[in-house]
């Protein structure tokens, strides 16, 4: 098995073949979640910490279920319920958790680079569950898994990612991953939220959604992160909707078999009209479902499960 990484800090350090290994492993693990007894003993006896410094519905429960379906012991920590609220530093928190003999630490943090930072002093496997505006590698992996399910390939696909690109770790991880697998990625958003530097990551930049959407195979809408808009980036949500919301009318210019994706949580009728979000073209809930399989694959590959055990 071609997987030599100790941590999953981002998509950037991964090779295309490592990404493919994760996706293939996820495919073989996906079936476990549809069994009546949704559990295999692959990671029995492994201890995993699920450390979430930011609110999360999907990612946190997805990691938790992924770990449990592989029989690992997982413990959840949030910022509110931990000593962080007493002023303990991240370094001390991690060192204390690790003193309890953890095998892996899954971390979601508002500050970019936090997973990298803790990997410099800790011996557990570190899994980045989203760090600031930097990366959200398992989201990009589950997005890729979902695209592969529907499109069977990556090369030649035209993928549009639209919304608040500047603050989006999902956009960064997706651009990196999709470029590594050979797709064309076009980023769309208001210019102050889409600085030209993103072209250095390998994406094309377009400020006009109607133009970008023509002939697209995949349209991924991002949430306007209202909690990060402490500066002025665009005039109003009303005008944002007018220029950048995915509506039925706009969607007609995409390819006939185009799919609609969204990492969630969605702001209905802001970045995406509610009828499209619930349409057959939308794969938003499949993304969530696939998230469990992809995270099972990541845990399995990092924590060194044995391949034959998958079949148990």
């Amino acid at each position: 098995m071609a997987f030599k990484q100790k941590h999953l800090l981002g998509i950037q350090p991964l090779s295309a073949s490592e990404i493919t290994t994760i996706l293939d492993t996820a495919e073989s693990l996906a079936e476990i979640s549809s069994r009546e007894v949704k559990k295999v003993p692959i990671l029995r006896g492994k201890t995993i910490i699920n450390l979430f410094y930011e609110p999360s519905t999907r990612t946190r429960s997805s990691f938790e279920l992924a770990a449990k379906r592989l029989s690992a012991d997982i413990s959840n920590f949030s910022k509110q319920s931990s000593s962080v609220s007493k002023g303990e530093t991240l370094k001390d928190t991690i060192l204390n958790l690790e003193a309890m003999n953890t095998d892996a630490i899954i971390i979601r943090h508002a500050f970019a680079g936090s997973p990298y930072f803790i990997s410099t002093f800790c011996s557990s496997h570190i899994i980045n569950a989203g760090d600031g505006s930097h990366e959200h590698p398992t989201q990009a992996l589950l997005d890729a898994f979902t695209i592969k399910q529907r499109k069977k390939k990556f090369s030649g696909l035209k993928i549009v990612i639209a919304g608040d690109i500047l603050h989006s770790r999902v956009a960064r991880s997706n651009v990196l991953l999709l470029k590594k697998l050979g797709a064309e990625v076009i980023l769309v958003g208001p210019p102050p939220l889409l600085p030209p530097y993103f072209s250095k990551l390998g994406a094309k930049i377009d400020y006009n959604l109607d133009h970008a959407i023509k002939g697209a195979d995949v349209i991924m809408m991002l949430r306007i992160q209202l909690e990060r808009q402490d500066k002025t980036f665009f005039p109003s949500l009303r005008e944002y909707r007018h220029l950048y919301s995915l509506t039925k009318e706009r969607f007609q210019n995409a390819k006939k078999d185009a799919i609609i994706m969204h990492p969630g949580p969605i702001n209905r009728d802001v970045e995406i009209s509610t009828d499209l979000a619930d349409s057959t073209e939308s794969v938003i809930l499949q993304q969530v479902e696939n998230g469990v399989a992809v995270r099972m694959a990541v845990l399995y590959l990092l924590l060194g499960g044995k391949e034959h055990e998958i079949a148990d």
């Binding site: 370094k91 500050f111 970019a112 680079g113 402490d230």
Partner: protein, 428 residues
């Protein structure tokens, strides 16, 4: 007690000397300089093969005392300066309490006198509490020993306050030093805005945040006719503005730091908080623009912006780590290695930026030159000494240097202040 410095290559830009000469010091003054001095009663130091320069003056240092003695004290900062080859340092007023009153200035000066090594020249705050609103009592501060005014750490954002400061202080002919940053543009930023901040997901500090303020300060300096010194310039755009201001013969001077001349934002890939500094490390075209400005004579001063922080304070997430690089003990070796060894600039030019010009800008009489009557402050350099930077050997209380383990050629050899040898790595 007389001291005779023999056989050194004496370089003094102020008197345009560059030759092998002896220097005779009597008590705290230079009394003679010529070939082959004989002074039977003097202690003799043979500095053959070494370069003797007027004492280096670092006009941008954060000593942290009073108030943040866990980072640095006047004593440890002085020791670091001596080891780094500096004979004088000017300390910034962002202490707790702020140096905006004569009592705090007197405290710093009396502590410096007790320690009795490097000369310490306090820079007082432009505004009370460095809050940017009301001017500090500048006349009294000058009388107490302030050599310049700055709210460094913060810019003076309010243009009317800056205008008043310049107009008011002009009567005393004391320089105002501004930390040029438009905080609306830099808000929440932690590194240079560009492809690397984009890739790392860190909030950017755009070059424009510095340049907007540099432009404003140059305009206000022109209208007021007062002297302004632009601290730690970091961008190509700032250099272009400076060039235009100097072409108009305005009373504008500027400094750069060693780290902005040597490092760029590509080095931040590992979120090393020792590289977090304000202004941030810029991109490669900015660095080459700064180096060209050092070569062309546009830059007046190299200053360290020595900003010590304790290891615990830096061992945190990049976003919440404090800005600052520990500079006093690496500056001279970095400059010799990166500017002199490859002939980017001459030694004369380096000494001009590290001694002659800071003395002029701060109006330090009898400093920044080697001639009879000048203070006996000398920085003696060993151009051939190979060193490896080790933060564990720092005399500074803090170790926050991105240059740890760097191998460099050239180092300070002997530091003499007021005729006393306060540092030496030679067998003398």
């Amino acid at each position: 007690m007389k001291l005779l410095i023999k056989n050194g290559r004496v370089i003094d830009p102020a008197s345009q000397i560059d030759e092998i000469l002896d220097i005779l010091i009597d008590k705290n003054k230079i009394v003679d300089i010529k070939t082959k001095i004989s002074a039977p009663s003097a202690k003799i130091i043979d500095v053959a093969e070494l370069v003797v320069a007027p004492g280096f003056i670092d006009m941008h240092v954060h000593l942290r005392e009073p108030g943040q003695e866990h980072k640095e004290t006047i004593r440890t900062g002085s020791a670091a300066a001596a080891r780094g080859g500096f004979t004088s340092i000017a300390c910034m007023p962002n202490t707790f309490p702020v140096i905006d009153n004569s009592g705090t200035i007197k405290y710093v000066l009396s502590e410096a006198e007790n320690i009795g090594t490097v000369n310490i020249f306090p820079i007082a705050a432009i505004t009370k509490g460095q809050k940017g609103k009301e001017l500090s009592e500048m006349a009294e501060l000058i009388d107490s020993g302030a050599v310049a005014f700055s709210d460094d750490g913060n810019p003076v954002s309010n243009s009317q306050v800056m205008r008043s400061a310049l107009e008011y202080v002009k009567q005393f002919d004391v320089v105002i030093i501004n930390h040029c940053e438009n905080t609306d543009l830099s808000e929440n930023g932690v590194m240079n805005e560009g492809p690397y901040s984009c890739q790392l997901g860190l909030n950017g500090i755009p070059a424009s945040s510095e340049e907007v303020m540099v432009a404003r300060d140059i305009i206000l300096a022109e209208k007021s006719g007062a002297r302004i010194h632009l601290a730690h310039l970091s961008t190509k755009g700032s250099i272009e503005l400076l060039k235009a201001a100097k072409a108009k013969k305005l009373k504008v001077t500027a400094e750069v730091t060693p780290h902005h001349l040597i490092l760029d934002d590509s080095s931040l890939a590992n979120y090393d908080t020792n590289l977090k500094v304000n202004p941030p490390l810029r991109d490669k075209k900015d660095v080459s623009s700064l180096i060209n400005a050092v070569k062309s004579g546009l830059i007046d001063v190299i200053a360290t912006d020595h900003a010590p922080h304790s290891p615990d304070e830096k061992a945190v997430e990049f976003d919440i780590a404090p800005f600052g690089i520990n500079g006093l003990e690496t500056a001279v070796s970095l400059l010799l290695d990166r500017l002199i060894n490859n002939n980017t600039i001459s030694l004369q030019r380096l000494i001009e930026m590290c001694s002659t010009n800071p003395a002029k800008i701060l109006k330090l009489k009898n400093k920044g030159k080697i001639c009879p009557g000048a203070d006996a402050d000398l920085t003696i350099l060993d151009l051939n000494k190979k060193i490896q930077v080790d933060v564990n050997n720092f005399r500074s209380k803090s170790k926050n240097s991105p240059f740890h383990d760097w191998k460099l050629k050239g180092a300070p050899a002997i530091t003499i202040v007021g005729g006393n040898i306060i540092y030496s790595n030679q067998s003398i």
